[in-house]
């Protein structure tokens, strides 16, 4: 059996693979199947709408051309596109999106990550990440203002002099005050990260959101 073709193919090749898939793949799927998966529209909340609106006022022409007006629909559209930009520019190879319960991470970034947070369309496939050249981004929303992000994406060294993060000038029409469709979408996506949490954690210059606008 151990040296026969059938043994190698069926037991080693197929059997053990399926066993592992059951143990490591199907078990978590069954464990989390009761948590409903949200769509991009369903994860739009007041905080991200506030930021989205802020973008529309700060960059009216660019915003108008890219997304028209502020609505749950256009905001979800921006989140979807922003996530695509985040993936295809390889941001997730330098930034993680989960806070571990160890190594003081919850003191640096905020609440430890929970499964519910990832049960939505924008985490297909999940963006946990495996490397941190830059900081974790899962609680990044509202830590910096929209224009900070715009300048930072245009040229990171302008706001963070030693940054090895690459420039993303093609997300703009020539200057940091003119983000294009992809740029606006990326800023929206980054501001959305962590916006579902009640509290914002300790960080350099954190400012509370003004929620009265809504």
């Amino acid at each position: 059996m151990f040296e026969s073709k059938g043994g190698v193919l069926l037991i080693g090749g197929l059997g053990f693979f399926l066993l592992a898939f059951l143990a490591n793949g199907v078990v978590p799927i069954l464990l989390y199947r009761h948590i409903p998966e949200k769509t991009a529209e369903e994860v739009v909340n007041r905080r991200i709408l506030y930021q989205f609106e802020e973008l529309s006022r700060r960059y009216p022409e660019s915003f108008e051309a890219a997304f028209g007006e502020v609505s749950v629909q256009t905001c979800a559209e921006a989140l979807r596109l922003g996530r695509q930009v985040y993936i295809s520019e390889g941001c997730w190879h330098c930034h993680s999106q989960y806070v571990r319960p160890v190594s003081n991470e919850s003191r640096r970034w905020g609440d430890v990550s929970r499964s519910e947070e990832y049960q939505n369309e924008l985490q297909r496939p999940v963006l946990f990440g495996t490397r941190r050249v830059g900081p974790d981004l899962s609680r990044e929303g509202s830590r910096h203002s929209n224009d900070w992000h715009a300048v930072h994406f245009f040229q990171p060294t302008l706001v963070s002099p030693d940054s090895p993060m690459p420039r993303y000038q093609w997300l703009f029409d020539g200057s940091p005050d003119r983000p294009n469709r992809r740029g606006l979408a990326l800023i929206t996506y980054i501001q959305w990260l962590g916006s579902w949490l009640d509290s914002y954690p300790y960080y350099e210059d954190l400012q509370e959101l003004e929620q009265e606008d809504f």
Binding site: G13, P28, Y32, S103, Q123, P125, V126
Partner: protein, 484 residues
Amino acid sequence: MVADESQTAVPSIDTRRLVDRPLVLCYYFAALAYLVISMLGGILMALQLVRWNVLEGIEWLSPGRWRMVHTNAVAYGFLANAFLGTLHWAIPRLSLRPVLSRSLSWFIFWAWQFIVVATAAGLVLGPSLQAEPWVVKLASRWHIPLSVGAQALEWGETPFWIDPLALLGLALVAVNFMAPIVRTPGPMYVSLWYFMAAFVWTFLTYAMGNFLPEYVVPGTSAGAIAGLFIHDLVGLFVTPLGWGLMYYFVPIMLKKPIWSHGLSLVGFWGLAFFYPLQGIHHFLYTPIPMFLQYGAVISTIAVELVVTTVIINFAGTLWGRGRDFWDNLPIRWFYTGMVFYFLTCLQCALQVTLTFQKLIHFSDWVVGHAHLVMFGVFSMWLFGVMTYLFPRLLDRQWASRALCEWHYWLSAGGILVMSSDLILAGIFQGYWWAALLPWDVSVMGSRPFWIIRLVAGLCMAAGVVCFLINIAWTARAGSRAADR
């Protein structure tokens, strides 16, 4: 044993007609071309990290995109092509039968090159098309997270429309190679166990990773599957093919059988059982349930014990023939790779524990580990195989032994420096982060390590350049080989 038969070639079988030599050569040239491209990508990213990237600001040279080209070109361009080429040499000679169809082989060759080039083009150019109205329209029409650029699965960044094609390609590869294997009567030689299992595993792994987390499950469950995918791609595609080749080439070159058949059995079945169970160890301390994480940790430690038996087996085979390590270049490549393999697995048994994970996860330690495995082990083995086969494929001797030596020493030295440097950097980074120092401290502190990594990477690349020059000289002017 079959390996011996192919060595002393049964008179009635002409091994020259069994192997499609031009095909093997084409696979090797393609593999080396992608290796060069991949290394350029690595160097670009390394330059970016130390902020010496003068090409910054050019959209299609964005380091983030090229980092993905770096890993994908290595996995699907270099390793896959080099393995496929070598299998076209080894399997017909082991089974004494040709592959299913010569034209199918060539079709697969070209189809695979198309897949790799399309992947690279998608990764580099895809993102620029993202905001184009037709792309947006398609995406919203089908209501799937559709992207013309990368997909968010490490090693599976391949743009979504290529996935089914690649899967079809893998199925054809399996059929083409299985034909001679199943027609061979009697029990099979060790290499064939590994190859057969690898064909099944690669197909299943690719299918699982490229479809489930994208289209079926989101979130944490997708994370578990993604972990399984990254892990199985190394463990069930690269590793079994690599070891299968070692079981084939080492006895041929030393002209003696493998030391212990029993240990070969333990090695294969131990790997087959324990290796696939470990996927989740890539995402320890995520929201994935803790009992699954413990299971992955334990089976990882178990597989290191299995690995030790394999290493003992190969050490036993070399025993008493230590001289060959110095004189026989392919043997030197192989056994150096095995030493690195043992080191990687030792490292793995440590880093997989939750204690180590606290410190080194997310850091350069992991990158050091990845280079040690992919370059220090599998690329080394493939360089050894190529060093052995190029003279036979070109019917000449190596034009320059000195360049062969340079290739070896630059590669071995480069990877040793690169991986120890990055592993050390990882420990520092882990402590800087846990100490809640500002992020810049870890970035600036890593700079010296990143500069050393860049230099080591340039050495490895220089080794490949030596190899390429040697191949060119050999092809043009080398003397006719006396041996076979």
